[in-house]
């Protein structure tokens, strides 16, 4: 599990750097693809481990907070809270209302 978290720390770090330095040049109508958010959603949808889900949300949110300069007037922790809350929300939705065999298998 620790390995997985270290992997997340690294991968989210690289994704954040790509998002903030590389993809900035490829904005379509001012919109830049949020790789971190996409990855967090992906992990939260298809991972079976609760710890993996929540750690991806916290790490992803933390990096977004670090590299975002104007989130909610400089409120540090905005993305961390949002993504963590989102992860919990998704978990509840998936556990209570969604029954997809493929997701369960993964």
């Amino acid at each position: 599990m620790v390995k997985k978290i270290i992997f997340f720390i690294l991968i989210f770090y690289i994704l954040t750097l790509i998002q903030t330095s590389f993809l900035v040049h490829f904005n379509v109508a001012g919109v830049i693809p949020n790789l971190v958010l996409i990855t967090v959603i992906f992990i939260n949808l298809f991972s079976s481990s609760w710890l993996q889900k929540i750690s991806s949300a916290v790490i992803g949110g933390f990096y977004l907070d670090i590299f975002s300069l104007n989130n909610m007037g400089g409120f540090f922790g905005f993305y961390t809270l949002i993504l963590t809350g989102f992860s919990f929300f998704l978990k509840i939705i998936l556990e209570r209302y969604v029954r997809i065999p493929i997701i369960r298998q993964i």
């Binding site: 770090y13 750097l17 790509i18 903030t20 330095s21 590389f22 993809l23 900035v24 040049h25 490829f26 609760w50 929540i54 916290v58 907070d65 670090i66 590299f67 409120f75 540090f76 922790g77 961390t80 809270l81 963590t84 809350g85 919990f88």
Partner: protein, 273 residues
């Protein structure tokens, strides 16, 4: 039994969620209020800046290439717009050049004092029918042009008279036209004759008494008031060659006209004299 187990698991999860959220909230609030977040950010910026620089440069290079491809359509549109603007500007330049020419002609005419002698109307040549010895000008019935009005250049050189008048255009019958004939005299003398057009820009001064001495390349022909066709004193041309015959009581001279129709753009119609 199963339902109870589920409830227990759910309660456990809820507790976990609340614990994590509370912990996070505390960290966030503390880091925000103590300014610790700035230190964290600074640390990450410091270690990331070399990688960010290279990512930034790479992104810039790649985006330049891709935007070039993606913006071909936009560029094409812009190019079309620029072409249109260019054409518009070119037409404006042409209009300015035309105005400049017109201005120069008017200045020249004013310099000669033509406006004091005659009531003039400026006209522009639209087309030249050189083989027919007539030209078309841009003034017609709507401008008040009437048939028979004399047409001159800014240098007071006679060109001809108005022939057919259309609503916005008029035909000018040049003095070299076969239809043209009028009274003229040699300048500074009392030698009179009739200027006749022979076509193809050839003009002759006919019916000059044989006893009168005229000189090739020296004598200048001007209009006389005798016929009433043209005002007096308009320049016609100078004598090129003189032909005499023993049987004929008059002598005849070929005239070189003072105007060169190919160089003309603007001319004046004399409305009153």
């Amino acid at each position: 039994m199963k339902v109870r187990l589920n409830i227990k698991l759910y309660q456990k999860n809820i507790k976990k969620i609340i614990a994590v959220l509370v912990l996070l909230a505390i960290i966030v609030i503390v880091s925000n209020f103590t300014g610790f977040s700035k230190n964290i950010k600074n640390f990450f910026f410091l270690i990331s800046s070399p990688i960010q620089k290279s990512f930034w440069q790479a992104g810039k290079n790649v985006s330049v290439y891709f935007t070039g491809i993606l913006e071909v359509r936009i560029l094409k549109k812009e190019l079309d717009n620029l072409h249109l603007k260019n054409q518009e500007l070119l037409s404006q330049i042409v209009a300015i050049i035309e105005l400049k020419k017109e201005n120069e002609v008017l200045r020249e005419a004013l310099g000669l004092g033509l406006e004091k002698e005659f009531q003039l109307m400026l006209a522009q040549i639209i087309s030249k029918d050189i083989s027919q010895d007539s030209i078309l000008i841009n003034k017609g019935k709507k401008d008040g042009v009437l048939e028979g009005w004399p047409v001159i250049t800014g240098q007071k050189v006679l060109l001809g008279r108005i022939g057919q008048v259309y609503s916005r255009f008029s035909e000018v019958i040049l003095i070299s036209n076969k239809k043209s004939s009028f009274d003229a005299k040699i300048s500074d003398t009392e030698i009179y004759g009739i200027v006749k057009g022979e076509g193809n820009f050839k003009i002759y001064l006919d019916l000059i008494p044989k006893d009168k001495a005229i000189f090739e390349g020296k004598d200048v022909i001007i209009t006389s008031a005798l016929g009433g066709v043209y005002p007096q004193g308009l320049l016609v041309g100078e004598i090129k060659t003189i032909s005499k015959s023993d049987t004929d009581p008059f002598q005849r001279a070929e005239i070189t006209p003072f105007f060169n129709i190919k160089d003309l753009d603007y001319l004046f119609i004399i409305m009153e004299w």
